[in-house]
Symmetry: C2
């Protein structure tokens, strides 16, 4: 509301444009997660399990702490999910050699397979959307999404080094 012109129509169009973005985010996120949710539901798992599997696959040997930093949920929420994943044989913990307090998280074969399946399903959707929209649109898409991030999230993502492997 800082640099709004004193013209009724311009204001209206601006608001409509913003609402369009808000609504697209809602619907696209819902549909984007829908297929994976179905696969997970078959195995009595939810989106929380997916997130854990995804980021453990992405950062093998990640500590619980670092996973918490990525997910921004409480230790207890994650603990419940990890317990289930270990019980069901998707994730294993190994003790760290450096610091034996740390449990380093790894996917099992079953975990890797499930992660691949879920990522494949979501990747196909992205691949189709990217193909339809074109390269320039994809760049714009990523720029806008990046602009929607909190600063802390942005910093986290730009440090995409080996820091979680230790």
């Amino acid at each position: 509301m800082a640099d709004v012109k004193p013209i009724g129509k311009a204001l209206f169009l601006r608001e409509e444009e913003l609402r369009r973005g808000i609504e697209l985010m809602f619907f696209a996120y819902r549909d984007f997660t829908g297929e994976a949710d179905s696969i997970l539901a078959e195995r009595n798992m939810g989106r929380a399990h997916h997130r854990a599997i995804y980021f453990i696959g992405r950062h093998p040997g990640i500590t619980v702490s670092n996973l918490l930093t990525i997910l921004c949920i409480t230790k207890q929420s994650l603990s419940r999910v990890l317990s289930g994943l270990m019980k069901d044989g998707y994730v294993v913990q190994r003790l760290s050699a450096n610091d034996r307090r740390q449990r380093l998280l790894h996917l099992t074969q079953a975990g890797t397979a499930l992660e691949a399946r879920l990522t494949s399903v979501q990747g196909r959707r992205f691949a189709a959307a990217y193909r339809e929209a074109g390269v320039d649109a994809v760049a714009g898409f990523q720029r806008v999404l990046q602009g929607l991030l909190d600063n802390s999230t942005l910093h986290q993502l730009t440090q995409h080094d080996q820091s979680t492997i230790e």
Copy 2:
């Protein structure tokens, strides 16, 4: 995995590109909803209340049925949320003249005010992201998000007429 070139590096880059999209969607959606969630939490409300308020504001006089079609949740989930919103004075029901089975939903003054506040917060984030990214990026953003939608959602959105007012 249909039209993949038999080159290791190209495949890797493609997968990384898709994973970047998947992750950006996760983080951006979380941060995008975070501020509104905080405002809602102050009033003992959640994201479900927000969705209901948002779409009632968008389609004054919408029926419960039509709201269900938009949200894709069960009648019971919505009913619980609507009961709370009516109890707290954000929403009122009016009986339809045509079909007295229907309850037509409207925001109260408090509901309108809350909707405006929440939309303003999310709109500001979008406005900032749009400003940084530029007009072309915004177009690409919208094209890609649209491509991520289920067909049924896309059809629903392209029929943005008065059908919900009846």
